[in-house]
């Protein structure tokens, strides 16, 4: 299939106008030796055949019902209202470039302005950018921001319960700096231990709450502690939790980042997601990424533009706050439509359902012989994820769940935390009904030690 529209006559006319007799001559500058390679690619195909072929590829994934999914760990199975995709499919949005020409881009610009406004409300921060790539890269840039505004410092204190892959990405980004991560490798540090690691070389303290194990962190006094040493508090948040639970802004966060996938974006095997990045107004000139601001046109009509581009690579080049250019416009639009559709009551309700159903699941699983829920922190409040100590290896349990019950079990924490072998991180959202949870519990029960499983 080719989407090239030229007729042979048009092509000939154009070649003539350009002064070549064959299109090949357009490429005389390309060294002969390498010109026009025969690429070893499969023979071109048509849309009809493609759909069949790729459909077969897709069929090699094991299908799982949404209600039977209990895997989270950074990508979640939340409800996506049908309004979202109906907006995303509009060609005016999805086939546009970054809104460099505001007069032709008021739709996207206003939507991004609204996105920024809602993110600021949810996080209780003063400014939000118009999106970043994903949660981990937003976090990495938050750390770079902290290193920059605390110039000269080289230490970033991390909770070990920040998403392990976020920490990995931060490590990659820190290859370009002299700074190091501290605190997160022990694998067991509590908040007060982290606080004791703070000193005058500390650029930032980074926590996640609810943390990777699902728990709300004890945040009292944290902001004060890090501010006292002149560092920043960076918080990784779950955007759904912000519908009901206190915001990072309310306890003194300086930068809030999150992965926005739960806000109307399908898991899509890990991407594209959406990086949320919000901070204090005082750091606005240090913010990475696009920023939409309100203004007026020549007849006094309200309008929106990309603003403070002096921070950005295309103006400031080597001295830009970040290299980011293409960001996540369309998934940010998804989040805006999602938040508008859910609204105040809807997001609150989604968070409530996550809380209620995950607690029901935790109680039922905790009551099973041989299973222990949140053994490391039985009293810490949690949101939608919790830890289950299993009587068997996680991989085995997951295999049985999937093959015998069609259930997608939780995340194997032993991959990241040596002390959490045979511990599974279970996610329960508004998509899992009581019946779904009961089916999970019944399936697990058979796996208890000594059962016929």
């Amino acid at each position: 299939m080719s989407y090239v529209p030229h007729t042979p006559i048009e092509r000939a006319e154009m070649c003539e106008a350009v002064g070549v007799s064959e299109m090949e001559e357009l490429f005389d500058d390309v060294p002969d030796a390498v010109r026009f390679p025969d690429l070893n690619l499969p023979q071109a195909t048509t849309e009809l055949e493609l759909a069949v072929e790729v459909g077969r590829l897709a069929a090699n994934n094991t299908p799982v019902e949404k209600g039977a999914t209990f895997l989270g760990a950074g990508t979640y199975n939340h409800f996506i209202p049908s309004t979202v995709d109906s907006v995303l499919r509009r060609g005016e949005f999805f086939t546009a470039y970054t809104p460099y020409q505001p007069e032709l881009s008021q739709g996207m610009l206003q939507a991004m302005f609204e996105y920024q406004s809602m993110v600021c409300q949810l996080t209780d921060m003063e400014v939000s950018n118009a999106s970043h790539y994903d949660g981990s890269t937003a976090l990495a840039e938050a750390v770079l921001l902290a290193l920059d505004v605390t110039k000269g410092r080289d230490k970033v204190v991390f909770s070990p319960y920040v998403h392990p892959q976020y920490r990995a990405v931060v490590r990659t980004y820190l290859r370009g700096t002299d700074a190091a991560l501290v605190g997160c490798d022990e694998g067991r540090s509590e908040m007060d231990q982290l606080a004791s690691a703070l000193d005058d070389r500390t650029a930032a303290l980074v926590i996640q709450s609810p943390n990777f194990l699902g728990h709300f962190e004890e945040v009292e006094g944290l902001a004060e502690a890090v501010h006292e040493v002149g560092g920043l508090l960076i918080v990784v948040a779950d955007p759904i939790s912000l519908g009901l639970f206190r915001s990072p802004g309310s306890y003194g966060a300086d930068v809030v980042v999150a992965d926005g996938q739960p806000l109307g974006v399908p898991p899509s095997f890990g991407g594209p997601h959406l990086g949320i990045f919000a901070t204090r107004r005082s750091y606005v000139r240090r913010l990475p990424g696009r920023l939409v601001g309100e203004t007026l046109d020549r007849s006094g009509r309200r309008g929106y533009v990309l603003t403070l581009s002096t921070r950005e690579q295309h103006i400031r080049r080597a001295r830009a706050t970040s290299n980011i250019c293409t960001n996540s416009g369309l998934t940010a639009l998804a989040a805006a439509v999602y938040l508008a559709t859910m609204g105040k009551a809807g997001l609150r309700r989604a968070a409530e359902l996550c809380y209620q159903r995950s607690h029901y699941a935790a109680k039922r699983i905790g009551a099973l012989e041989g299973f222990e829920v949140n053994p490391h922190a039985p009293d810490q409040p949690f949101f939608k994820e919790f830890v289950v100590q299993l009587p068997a290896p996680v991989e085995h349990v997951n295999r049985v769940l999937l093959e015998e019950h069609g259930i997608l079990g939780g995340y194997d924490l032993g991959q990241d935390y040596a002390h959490l072998g045979q511990h599974m991180l279970v996610a329960v959202t508004e998509m899992n009904t009581r019946a779904d949870i009961d089916r999970l519990v019944d399936a697990l029960e058979v796996l208890r030690p000594g059962a016929n499983g």
Binding site: E24, T62, G91, G107, E126, Y304, A318, N323
Partner: protein, 486 residues
Amino acid sequence: MSEPTLYELSVAGRRGGLELPRADVPETELPRELIRPDNGLPELSQLDVVRHFQRLSQKNFGVDSGFYPLGSCTMKYNPRVNEEIARLPAFAHSHPLQHPSTVQGNLALIHELQEWIREIGGFAGVSLQPAAGAHGELAGLLMMRAYHEARGESGRDQVLIPDTAHGTNPASATMAGLSVLEIPSDDRGNIDLEALRAACDETTLGLMLTNPNTLGLFEERIEEVVGLVHGCGGLVYGDGANMNALAGVARPGDLGIDVMHFNLHKTFATPHGGGGPGSGAVGASEALVDYLPGPIVEVVEESERGHRVFALGSPQASIGRMCTFLGNFGMFVRAHSYIRMHGSQGLRSNSMHAVLNANYLRVQLRDTFAVPFDRMSMHEFVCQGTVEGSDAKATDVAKRLMDHGFHPPTVYFPLIVPEALMIEPTETEPKPVLDAFIAAMRDIADEAVRDVETLRNAPQATPVSRLDEGKAARELVLCDRATSAS
């Protein structure tokens, strides 16, 4: 008509938005101290929401709306079939942490795409991790850094960047902890070879080369350029944003590029989305392949009948992860379909027609708008948006194009061309569209002399006229004032 914001439309207590199920489990008490009084979101009905975003969309211009010759952005047709395929539930609802045995379809697709991009680029390996071009640049520079460090050459911290380069290049260099040395262009729009020669030394990490460059010109002495850099021990990074001129025409790896990003959202037609998400695959030569960001997909088993089993693996000396999971899989699906439909011939045909379209515009417009480096261009060319006898600026010409129903070209870039208009038509525009654009440009040139005020007051056919960017930057209204009312 100006569209109210979501917060302006919001009414306290509004119903008809989205209801969620009633609780079906015994209630657990909420931790009161953690509960917020209000989450600050607006309150709207679904119909409010649908209407609002429909109206906003009608104030937005995409490739679907009309000709969009935005230079360096490759605004080509985004095939609709790819949108359908990327939404197949088996793809869209698969979880990145599922056991590999349950997502062999995804892994096979990723592996194929890695292989195809490797082949198109002429590289030894590819990682699809980066989320965009700039992200790929950062990955590539970190790989180059790691390579030199592994060879005990940590002193190499200088990146040579031509003055035509895109802003992301120097910005990425800075993020990678490197310093930048700008290399001037010569009078044919190539890298100034003498300046390059002078710059190459034992502090040289490498060169970031965009080829064709942002003037739309093929680097005429590419072999010498690469030779100079390699000669001093440096590496050559390729900025692949302009690959739509070369796919199927020349493989960057064959030209000596060591590492390069591809913008799947340009060359391989994944939609730009109003500013992303994109995807910035990086390809690497033998020398750098072990440093690629991971995980990438590998074949771990292959039966005699050709049945393959895939798993995730990490290159041996990988710089690490560039994003939380595997990259923007939804974009992989689209790019995979795109390449699959085109094959070798189809990709070459795309490049050829993209280049033909650009040159056609160039020769038709050069008598009206000066083309400073007027030689055979690749997929785009740069002219000056000024006309003799008028003091209209490139901006005025750009804004006036909107009244003719066209999206303007890229303006004021590259920096070395004053009043630059960078025009990239892409291969999916038919001649009648190009001819209409040519006519409009000539019209505007006439008008610039005859009636410059009309240009200065353009656009008029758009939902808003020219916006006061200064005011926006001074006042920094970044959140809706109406939020406080909610």
